[in-house]
Amino acid sequence: MPERSREHASALGFLIGSGQGNLGTRMKLHEYQSKELLSRFGVPVPAGDVTNDPAEAAEIARKLGGKVVVKAQVLMGGRGKAGGVKLFNTAEEAGEFAKALIGKRLVSNQNPDGMVVEKILIAEQVDIAKEFYVAVLLDRAAQRNIVMLSAKGGMDIEEVAETDPESIVKIPIDPAWGIADFEIREGLAEANIPIEARSQMVTMIKRLVKAYIEADAEMVEINPCAMTPDGKIIAADAKVSIDDNALFRHADYKATSAESAEDPIEEEAARRGIAYVRLGGDIGIIGNGAGLVMCSLDEINAAGGNPADFLDVGGGAQAERVKSCVELIMMDPNVKGLLINIFGGITRCDEVAKGILAALDELNLTIPVVARIEGTAAEEGRALLAGTKIVPAQTMQEAAEKVVKLAYA
């Protein structure tokens, strides 16, 4: 069935953050937050608690009977391999490990800079007889939400999609009606989920869908969804990310959003309300409008440079905001040159120029800055920059070539 497998593969595109998670958004919840959320909707999760105190960790482990798993609450892929997850038979051992783990920097292939462990989750160990995969997410192509299922749980779903796409089944969710029990039953049968697990899975999936919709999640992923030797279904691991745009109606998550920032500059950007993504290179980029900024970073790459960031100054930016953007970029010590690419629509180029000059003044910029400004009030803007150390450029291609050449000189 080539048609079907193609459809399966396309749905998988939305499964970023699965397994080797790297969503790049600020609202990825920690495992303990995800489990708390799902638990509120009646989804069975392992008993456990979160703490930042080793003594309390031992106490939690003792209450759970000593046979526990300790999990570092860091939002990075490869957490297990980095030594952030371990099983113990006694509360004492768990407490010892907690002492060593809290405050430690975990480093993995996916996150070479590493992250410092602030909180740990201590949970009961789940005896796993069988592992499945369940997720609720948006199918962009269909413009609808879907449930994704596979009997192949416990591994990276994208790998499953490549090696065995037929094992992945998706069930569309009607935007008005939601999902019907029979649709879930059909999906479970198609995914070859064992018959004895299905009735509990129907209930769990309905609750996952409810949680997904009501929490404005971008994705709810249970991997593995475990079946214990005595036949109970439980969400052994859970990953939930929340749609940033919906935070206005979820004050509870809003409070935790800073906590889940993955990079200190990105965190500061979020505080200033600036759309900034750190890319790890050395040429800073400021532009207006997502498409134009993306295009600018393509041009930097084409010119042989390595972009340090994606930064969208936003529509109608005033001088103060432009200055704040330059300031933000300069927090990255790797930045060797700065490209400013503005096509003024609502944004006035003279305001941008004033912002650049203010930044030049106050930040004592020593790196080369190339500015290409076009559109509304461009003449006035260029006049303001004339005679300063800002290097002008006519087109964005020219600007990219100039800044790369100057920065690497």
Binding site: G13, F14, R140, E158, A161, D243, A246, V277, A290, L292
Partner: protein, 295 residues
């Protein structure tokens, strides 16, 4: 001729009295757009920027014979505004507002598609302009020029960049449409391509895509059947996977949404894809020349 909006379009502005709404309403009026009314609940009966304000869309439609609306209402209230426009019988709505939650868009877009009476453009888009006739959006009007090339894009400022290159090269536009940068959009590339194909005045089309989703690929399938030449551009060719590039929808997810996949789908449909924005006028001129059409 143009698609969706022209000099006969009678426009309502939802959220007209707000800061953004006021600024852009004035710009639209200055451009020559027929702005016939504004909607702000509680301010009905007043006048703003010389335009009558109404409490409800229904009343505004009855009193002004409006046939389109542009929405500047803040994100938490924007979905309601779209539904009100639909319920009041407006056939076309342009949603400029950025930041509407995805789940709201899923519900609204599916409802509008099911009812089939209102075309929604956006959200998180620059809107639509038929140069010299009507502007329902936030684009700077002066960079556009009336002509015979249609344009559709997910990005606002990148559209301005490319339109400005076209205008300076003497290539005018029939209609330029921003479909917006969100993952769930009211109008998709393929739908706009169908409209341009059917529009006798549009001789060629520019499609400006970006990373994320698979709408460019879907459009490429349709382009194979089109009689008109199409020129493409894809931004974010060097964007890293898993990072959201400003637009909520601009993210490479697993193997889906890469620029490579979009470029190869378009090229597979016979569309020349520009490496640089500055190449677009040349590719357009070449495409139009081949058809023996003057610009």
């Amino acid at each position: 001729m143009a698609i969706l909006v022209d000099r006969n379009t009678r426009v309502l502005v939802c959220g007209m009295t707000g800061r953004e709404g006021s600024f852009h309403t004035q710009q639209m009026i200055d451009y020559g757009t027929q702005v016939v009314g504004g909607i702000t609940p509680g301010k009905g009966g007043t006048t703003h920027l010389g335009v009558p304000v109404f409490d409800t869309v229904q009343e505004a439609v009855e009193k002004t014979q409006a046939n389109a609306a542009v929405i500047f209402v803040p994100a938490p209230f924007a979905p309601d505004s779209v539904l009100e426009c639909e319920a009041s019988g407006l056939p076309f709505v342009s949603l400029i507002t950025e930041g509407v939650p995805t789940q709201d868009m899923v519900r609204v877009v599916n409802r509008l598609r099911q009812n089939g009476t209102t075309r929604l453009l956006g959200g998180n888009c620059a809107g639509i302009i038929s140069p010299g006739q009507c502007k329902m959006g936030i684009m700077p009007g002066h960079i556009f020029k009336q002509g015979d090339v249609g344009l559709v894009s997910r990005s606002g400022t990148l559209t301005y960049e490319i339109v400005w290159e076209m205008t300076r090269a003497g290539i005018g536009q029939t209609t330029c449409i921003g479909i917006g940068g969100d993952p769930v959009a009211g109008t998709r590339f393929i739908e706009v391509m169908r409209m341009f194909e059917a529009d006798p005045d549009s001789k060629a089309v520019v499609l400006i895509g970006e990373i994320g989703g698979s709408d460019e690929e879907a459009a490429a399938e349709y382009i194979k059947t089109m009689t008109k030449p199409v020129v493409g551009f894809i931004s974010g060719r060097t964007a890293p996977p898993g990072k959201r590039m400003g637009h909520a929808g601009a993210i490479i997810s697993g193997n889906t949404g890469t620029a490579k996949s979009k470029v190869s789908a378009l090229e597979g449909a016979g569309v020349p894809v520009a490496d640089k924005t500055s190449d677009i006028p040349r590719l357009l001129l070449k495409a139009l020349e081949r058809l023996g059409v003057g610009v």
